[in-house]
């Protein structure tokens, strides 16, 4: 483990955006970042040979007293710690990928990385359905002791983290900016919640680094690299989520694809992947089975088949269930389908919402919860 003084020099190296392989060479050569720093400052020939003049210039500039002071303040204020590639804690799976980060910054509990990890990715501007599905799936997996890795973005990312927290397992977020800030701002509460629940937040970017567009696809290799497989919830054909899929496939891992509504263009990427051989699943149990993580397969199967029986409910509620069987519909269609009058239907819907049989969607639509 590095002390906080050493962490400043790690942050200093990371702030120059040098390719990870070069950073690894430097660290191997000099032993640690502080010695590297001294070498750069004294202008040793050897280090000049390892670095391009441009990187040297940036390192020298970033090595000024005031900048080091700033980095140190950030590290201390946000309790940021460092995980180097040669640390025994550094996850083996991640070290095997190409361009594995040499230095990682983290907040929270590092031992999360020893859990069973699955990545969940999807669109930021996600459909309501996709978010619901992500949250439920993450919760189900989490209840089976699996932690979810995602990117702390809006939409599917946030839903996956939240679901994982719902299920009681800690969750891992890999961000695309320095750990001193949270991007997007909306997720500050989620960020705090993750840390509160013994989760982990990781980044390869030096504290103080702002999120840039090109960080995200690069960051996605870490999300893929940390996990044993990846679950795609919702993506259009050209999207950031598809780069995560690409990284996962390059790393030789499985990609599970959520079979969204084929009519909706929110899921066009999912269906393309399914055609190309993505793994189809409908529930957490499917994934557990494919990952060979089922302790007692038959027990779970049974659990799924014993769907909630809706017998013994009052006739209005049964009429509503019948009308909702084909999928989500609006209030007026429900009226037509159930032949109830508006006040009765409204109160029936409330009672069914409370008892968890149905849920309401934006646009005054209702659907069965299972």
């Amino acid at each position: 483990m590095n002390n906080s003084n050493g962490a400043v020099y790690d942050a200093w190296i990371a702030s120059a955006s040098i390719p990870p392989d070069t950073v690894r060479l430097l660290l191997q050569q000099y032993g640690d970042a502080e010695r590297c720093f001294n070498a750069v400052r004294s202008g040793e020939d050897e280090i000049t040979g390892m670095l391009t003049p441009r990187f040297r210039m940036i390192l020298e500039k970033n090595g000024r007293e005031d900048n080091l002071k700033r980095l140190e303040n950030l590290i201390q204020a946000h309790d940021i710690r460092v995980l180097r590639f040669d640390d025994p804690q550094y996850p083996v799976l991640l070290s095997e990928i190409s361009q594995a980060p040499a230095i990682l910054f983290y907040q929270g509990e590092l031992n999360c990385l020893h859990r069973r990890l699955l990545a969940m990715v999807g669109s930021r501007a996600a459909s309501y359905k996709g978010q619901k599905a992500a949250r439920k799936l993450a919760a189900d997996l989490s209840m089976k002791g699996i932690s979810i890795v995602s990117g702390l973005a809006c939409g599917i990312d946030a839903a996956s983290h939240l679901g994982c927290l719902d299920g009681g397992s800690p969750t891992v977020a890999v961000t695309a900016c320095g750990l001193d800030s949270v991007y997007p701002k909306e997720n500050i509460r989620l960020h705090d919640e993750i840390l509160l629940k013994q989760g982990l937040i990781l980044s390869e970017y030096s504290p103080g680094e702002k999120p840039s567009g090109w960080h995200f696809p690069i960051r996605n290799r870490i999300i893929a690299g940390l996990s044993q497989a990846l679950i795609l919830i919702e993506a259009k054909i050209r999207s950031g989520s598809m780069t995560s899929v690409q990284h996962t496939l390059e790393q030789g891992k499985d990609v599970f694809v959520y079979p969204g509504d084929p009519e909706s263009d929110y899921f066009e990427g999912n269906h393309q992947l399914l055609r190309e051989g993505g793994i189809y699943f409908t529930s957490a149990e499917d994934i557990l089975e494919d990952m060979h993580w089922l302790d007692n397969p038959s027990a779970v199967r049974q659990n799924i088949e014993s769907c909630p029986e809706h017998t013994g409910l009052p006739p209005e509620q049964q009429a509503v269930i019948l009308a909702l069987k084909p999928g989500a519909i609006g209030f007026d269609q429900l009226l037509a389908g159930t032949h109830l009058d508006p006040p009765t239907l409204m109160s029936t819907l409330t009672i069914m919402q409370i008892s968890g049989i149905i849920e309401s969607l934006p646009g005054k639509k209702y659907q069965l919860k299972h």
Binding site: R124, A125, M346, I354, P362
Partner: protein, 516 residues
């Protein structure tokens, strides 16, 4: 040549109230000019040119005197052309052109009217408050423009003499004949003239939303509709005045007064018997909404008094305009203070607001996909502040109606039928709140909600479960109780059951879906 002082009585308007104005005319020798004093505004000052022309065109002369017209009290600013007629009469008497019959008691006759150059008498603004004030000041007869006669015909105990030309007034003053007195119109007769601009039977489908506006009307609850463009939010809102209970005489008087001083009353109309429906555009300024301008004129909230204020595209209204609505929503009265004047106007209206669920309008729509990002949607919804949402009891979602339902031949219920149920529910409320100063469920405060809206134990249990499982806020809890009171009133029972509470929960759904 003798100096003569002539007097004529008229009235001015300040705020929504009239006050007596004594028009004094003094003619004396000197340079032939006419001067008007007593803080006249430009339209009163120009009166002298109209008066001169009108007198000549009525067959009298304007002799070369030095004429001073004083409008007493001299410290209140006078505005508007309604003093033309009394000034003209005063000038004619002072210059020896007109000799009223000795039986005419000039101290108890009030004159209003704008003159045109040919002597015709034009309609004026604010006739209703002026005549009411005249009656209170012991005036026995008023002479006013023909076009304003109907507006004031409901006021009892004062003789209304409508005129159309200055000649007619001159003849009447000299001979006491030539004007037909305006007949009293009873308020009940007027009521039959009420028109429903948009009838509920024109709405196809939307059964859920129809029920919601019925509940809102029955309890006087403010309401917010969220829905995709073209789902019929505006049309639903336009139906509301037609299903609210008919206006009482007092309500009608209050509303007509405000419309009268703004000149918004259609010429030739009597008291307003149809509840007003005001829908200001979303670029409306605070002053146009609340009232203002140099003379502190009433704004849209007061024009909507006893009626419906409809704010379409709610988040597009400026923040300051929306925040300014809080006082009138709370107190039913708005005080406007401006440079020259300050006034308090009544403004107890039912707020009906409509908005899209997101900037592009299609969030949650099944027909088109939304292209807004989550932060954009959040930013859009956040433009409606919590304190304003706090004052809105019903929030509903309106989805567009499928084509096959639009062509559905089954006719919807008419406004008349719905209004019957609403009136019954309102009567029950009036009975219950007798002597408390309240007259509908929407006005109850938290304390009164506890007293009057107590559901049975079963329903309380249901409500607590709903609050728990649907993550409703405390403010939603209070609103649900109020609305379930109204639903029970609509059903004609005093007893709030679980079905009522469960239905009321449906009108708070947006809390969970949008504002979390």
């Amino acid at each position: 040549m003798s100096d003569i002082l002539a007097k004529a009585l008229s009235f001015g308007v300040s705020g929504v109230n009239g006050y007596p104005v004594h028009v004094e005319v003094f003619a004396t020798g000197g340079l032939p000019v006419m001067e008007i004093i007593g803080l006249p505004d430009a339209s009163v000052r120009e009166s002298k040119n109209r008066v001169t022309a009108a007198i000549i065109n009525s067959g009298r002369e304007v002799n070369p005197y030095r004429i001073t017209v004083n409008l007493a009290p001299a410290d209140i600013r006078k505005e508007g052309p309604s003093f033309d007629l009394p000034i003209a009469l005063g000038v004619m008497i002072a210059t020896d052109q007109l000799h009223p019959d000795p039986r005419v008691d000039m101290d108890h006759i009030a004159f209003f009217g704008e003159l045109s150059l040919d002597g015709c008498i034009q309609a004026i603004n604010g006739a209703l408050p002026m005549v009411i004030s005249a009656k209170e000041n012991g005036v026995s007869s008023v002479i006013l423009p023909e076009k304003n006669a109907k507006e004031v015909s409901c006021i009892e105990g004062i003789r209304i003499l409508p005129v159309s030309h200055l000649k007619q007034v001159i003849y009447w003053l000299e001979n006491l004949e030539g004007i037909t007195e305006q007949l009293q119109t009873s308020f009940d007769t007027l009521k039959t003239e009420a028109v429903i601009s948009t009838d509920m039977s024109q709405i196809r489908g939307q059964k859920g939303a129809r029920r919601a506006i019925e509940v809102a009307a029955a309890g006087g609850h403010n309401m917010l509709m969220i829905g995709v463009p073209g789902s019929g939010k505006t049309m639903l809102a336009r139906c509301i005045p037609g299903i609210l209970p008919p206006m009482s005489f007092e309500e009608s008087l209050e509303t007509t007064r405000i419309h009268s001083i703004c000149g918004k009353l259609p010429a030739g109309n009597g008291l307003m018997v149809t509840r007003p429906f005001c829908s200001p555009h979303h670029n409306a300024s605070v002053a146009s909404l609340i009232g203002g301008g140099q003379d502190a004129k009433p704004g849209e909230v007061s024009l909507a008094h006893n009626g419906v204020l409809f704010l379409d595209e709610l988040p597009e209204f400026s923040r300051s305009a929306l925040e300014a609505l809080r006082q009138p929503l709370e107190d039913g009265i708005v005080s406007v203070a401006r440079v020259r004047n300050q006034a308090r106007y009544q403004s107890s209206f039912m707020l009906v607001a409509a908005m899209n669920p997101c900037p592009c309008g299609y969030y949650g729509s099944s027909r088109r996909s939304c292209r807004c990002t989550p932060p954009e949607i959040r930013k859009y919804l956040d433009r409606v502040s919590g304190p304003l949402l706090d004052r809105i009891d019903l929030q509903i979602e309106v989805d567009s109606v499928p084509l096959n339902e639009i062509n559905d031949s089954e006719p919807s219920e008419s406004s008349f039928t719905v209004a019957g149920r609403v009136e019954k529910a309102r009567r029950a409320q009036l009975e219950r709140y007798k002597g408390t100063g309240r007259h509908c469920n929407a006005q109850l405060n938290n304390e009164e909600v506890r007293r009057y809206c107590t559901p049975d134990p079963e329903a309380v249990r249901l409500l607590h479960m709903a609050v728990d499982s649907l993550h409703l806020s405390m403010r939603a809890y209070q609103r649900i109780l109020k609305v379930s009171r109204t639903i029970a009133d609509l059903e004609g029972t005093d007893h709030i059951s679980s079905a009522h509470v469960a239905e009321a929960v449906q009108y708070r759904e947006l809390d969970q879906k949008y504002w979390r």
